[in-house]
Amino acid sequence: MTDDTAIPRGAPLGLIGCEACGLVVEHAAADASCPRCGHRLHARKPDSVTRSWAYLLAAFILYLPANLLPVLHSKKLFEEWSDTIMSGVVALWKDGAYDLAIIVFTASVVVPLLKMGALALLLVQVQRGSSYLPRERTRLYRILEFIGHWSMLDVFAVALLVALVHFGALGNAEPGAGVVAFGAVVVLTMLATMSFDPRLIWDAPRTPARRASDRPPT
């Protein structure tokens, strides 16, 4: 492990890396654009904490209807029932399809919740100016970026069900409002993640003494 405090950072040196094309520009004026790609140059994404919180809160609010409202209404002769995401998982589990139940539960319930919780944690720690485990927090952000769109899985699954099951011997499948709210949650959390600027994690003052205090005294 190298001593990471020895590596300089761009902002104090007047160096900006363009967010769009990666070009490194020295002494850029306040409202300058990237000479290569024309993207506006800024040391940090503007208002990233506020914008990220706004998207995240909207996602939190919509997470309720996404889970409480049915995602699917099914009709078969005289039977009629509605499935929420959770009841769908329970039904799969009862049918003995444990692997599927786990996949859907992970993609639709665990991942969105963990994502929103993790992003909220990152935002709170940036606002408090925390210098705790920056490397790990940056890695957490990369994981959030990577898994972002996988929660859309259930939306596609419902869409296919609706497309296939209609007026047949199987009855009829109608999408519920929950699936729209769920799609919105996925899009909003993706926007919240994109708005966050991981460089803020490293902006808290880091002194060697501070880092030494991270480890318990021996």
Binding site: A97, H149, M152, L153, V155, V165, H166, P175, G183
Partner: protein, 210 residues
Amino acid sequence: MNTKDGATAPMRIRTDLAICEQCDSVHQRGPLAAGEAADCRVCGATLYRRSRLDVDAMLALTLGALIVFVLANVAPIVTMQSGGITTRAWLLTIVVRAWDHGVGPVAAIAAGTVFLFPLAQLTLYLFVLRAVKRPTRSPGFVEAMHWLRWLRPWSMVEVFLIGILVSIIKMSSLARVTAEAGLWGFGVLTILLTALSTFELRELWDAHDD
């Protein structure tokens, strides 16, 4: 405004440096062999990389992906048989039925993330890669590259594929559901798009500069 310490020194491009986009650390750029990546020593993010594929291989992949894209959309994805009735589903059917059933946003998500955005991505790749091969700068290259950057997170063919597989297995206890050529098409498309995305856009910016 001009101060002695050079606060308003002229803007300069530093091609010798790379800045980590995740922690703002400044690194000296060095040459890379094909397939190598330079990671940030502070936070571990990838600074820049050189793909194992060259531009010609990328062009071939893009063309192949476009052909597979057409096949995946022309061939049905699944067939369901129950009570003597056979129902087929294409991607287009899924979009139209979602729209008909009053969930317009779901139709829009499926049409955008599985059809429009991947198609736009492939078309833009084709344009951008041809521009890189040309000795002169191409008009429209900058705009195309910005579009590629915006589109990248919103292309969800791989998620669609797994969603369809989950749905097929769910329905298989109720009816005879068989995977058709379209599903295989989306499978191959997923692999090709993943291979294409190993090529960093920043690499293309640099290639176009040279």
